[in-house]
């Protein structure tokens, strides 16, 4: 064989061995630190722009970016179909590479499977933490004859308003009605929290369960609070008894939860990086200060595993109450 051709042949064999050997070497090398994030993160919000969850997420953005190990951007996508079910379904099938995350409403997401054909399984999501929880209360029109839970229990029927059958306010209503023993009758459904609050202020309906912060900023003085769904009294409504004082401690957990989540099977290291960054962000004094200024107090921050337990807990709770929903 000519010398040149021999050299070429040897070169090819060497290259071939290199190509085979290198990946093997990489696999045997000690696990390199995972490089995250290296591109923009998609943050899926399940409501339209301007909604409570949306504003929360956007205000959080800078604090989240501050706490991630590398510089990146957050791109918000508002997918508001089917009361959120579409956005949860979208995240469910997204690639679990850490570049798609979202904010979920629990128990909103837990209720959806009972009333519509959903394409996600809540138990399989990767939970990253809880950003905030609401404090809900029972309010009545200030001109109504009801001043306490007892009054409601003794009334024949109390006309309730709710934000639609898939909503948290409706869920709380039916659970509370069942456990505390008052008669809700048929609930008038409205589109949007504000329309529901206005309806009770107007006197079209008598009562509603609602986020106490929302009522405070929109209808302070117009609605009379009857009880607070929490373990203790709420500072904004110091004269309103808590549900624990009234003797129903098991209802103290009824609230809206803003839960960060990602697609199923996210790699543990990335989930940890995100979880830690989110935890630091929601506890950042700057973010908490924003919450106070905007009448949207940030409270109840939880880490990833506790958030997961919360969501699974709701799934179990709803099994108990599912007959109260119209069957699919």
């Amino acid at each position: 064989m000519k010398k040149g051709r021999l050299l070429i042949l040897l070169g090819c064999i060497f290259l071939g061995m290199l190509l085979v050997a290198l990946p093997l070497m990489a696999a045997c090398a000690p696990a390199a630190k995972v490089e995250y994030p290296t591109q923009n993160i998609r943050y899926i919000v399940h409501s339209k722009v301007g909604g409570g969850f949306d504003v929360f997420s956007r205000a959080l953005g800078p604090y989240l970016l501050k706490n991630l190990p590398r510089e990146t951007n957050i791109i918000y996508e508002n997918i508001s179909g089917a009361g959120g079910a579409e956005s949860y379904a979208m995240v469910y099938v997204a690639k679990p590479d850490g570049y798609t995350i979202g904010l979920m409403n629990v128990p909103g997401a837990s209720v959806s499977p009972y009333i519509m054909p959903v394409k996600y399984d809540l138990s399989k999501f990767t939970y990253l933490g809880r950003g905030c929880r609401s404090i809900h209360g029972l309010f009545v029109n200030k001109k109504s004859p009801y001043h306490s839970l007892k009054d409601l229990q003794q009334a024949e029927i109390v006309k309730f308003a709710a934000v639609g059958i898939a909503s948290t306010s409706y869920l709380m209503g039916i659970i509370a009605a069942k456990e505390c023993g008052f008669n809700m009758g048929e609930v008038v459904q409205y589109k949007g929290g504000t329309a529901t609050i206005t309806a009770v202020v107007r006197g079209d309906t008598e009562a509603l369960f609602m986020d106490m912060d929302s009522v405070y900023s929109r209808a302070k003085g117009e609605l009379r609070p009857i009880l607070t769904l929490d373990t203790e009294r709420y500072a904004l409504y110091p004269d309103t008894p808590s549900i624990v004082e009234l003797g129903y401690p098991e209802l103290a957990g009824l609230c809206n939860n803003k839960i960060f989540y990602g697609p199923p099977d996210m790699p543990a290291e990335i989930a940890k990086i995100l979880g830690d960054a989110l935890w630091k962000a929601v506890n950042d004094p700057g973010f908490i200060a924003w919450g106070e200024k905007a009448d949207r107090a940030v409270r109840g921050q939880l880490k990833a595993d506790e958030a997961r337990e919360l969501s699974l807990g709701w799934m179990q709770k709803l099994e108990k109450y599912k007959d109260l929903y119209p069957q699919k």
Partner: protein
């Protein structure tokens, strides 16, 4: 006044369109029957208004005597003959405005459906570029240069607005 000779009703495409609408109405009514009372109230009311209307329309296409009577029903002037003439002349002028052959319509439909399919699999930018260029060149028969220029300008404008401003992903990655 020259009367246009009306084609036999089974040749009139309008007849089939009306039949399609009739089927939709019947579907709405039938599907609503198992609903609880409150959920079926409005659909049934509206359905029971829509059903006789579309039936009368179809009957009118089948028989000219009925269609004359219908024309007179307009504005509740049952026995006013001038209303009938007005109606008949209105019919002829309206319909003549939009003559089209259905094979041509099918061709257009296929072009647009093709665009949608491209959209679904490729994302908006490649789909729009391909569709716009091909449509201008092969359907509308403009020259290569004009088609390319219009496509280029449109693509850049859309990209500027929808990707730069609105962060809409221009090209669908196959794993997303």
């Amino acid at each position: 006044m020259s009367q246009r000779i009306k084609p036999k009703f089974w040749r009139d495409a309008g007849f089939y369109f009306s039949v399609l609408l009739l089927i939709s109405v019947v579907l709405v009514i039938v599907l609503s029957l198992p609903f609880p009372y409150r959920a079926k109230l409005f659909p049934l009311i509206v359905g029971s208004i829509a059903l006789p209307l579309i039936v009368i329309d179809i009957l009118g296409k089948i028989s000219t005597r009925i269609s004359n009577k219908i024309g007179a029903l307009r504005s509740a002037e049952l026995f006013d003959t001038t209303a009938v003439e007005k109606y008949q002349s209105a019919q002829t002028t309206q319909a003549e405005g939009t003559q089209i052959s259905y094979p041509a319509l099918l061709k257009i439909a296929l072009w647009f459906i093709g665009y949608f399919v491209l959209y679904y699999f490729l994302g908006y930018l490649p789909a729009t570029i391909i569709f716009l260029f091909c449509f201008l060149k092969f359907y509308a028969h403009y020259s290569f240069k004009i088609s390319a220029v219009i496509t280029g300008v449109a693509a850049i404008a859309l990209w500027a607005i929808f990707t730069v401003f609105l962060n809409l992903p221009p090209i669908k990655w196959f794993f997303s």
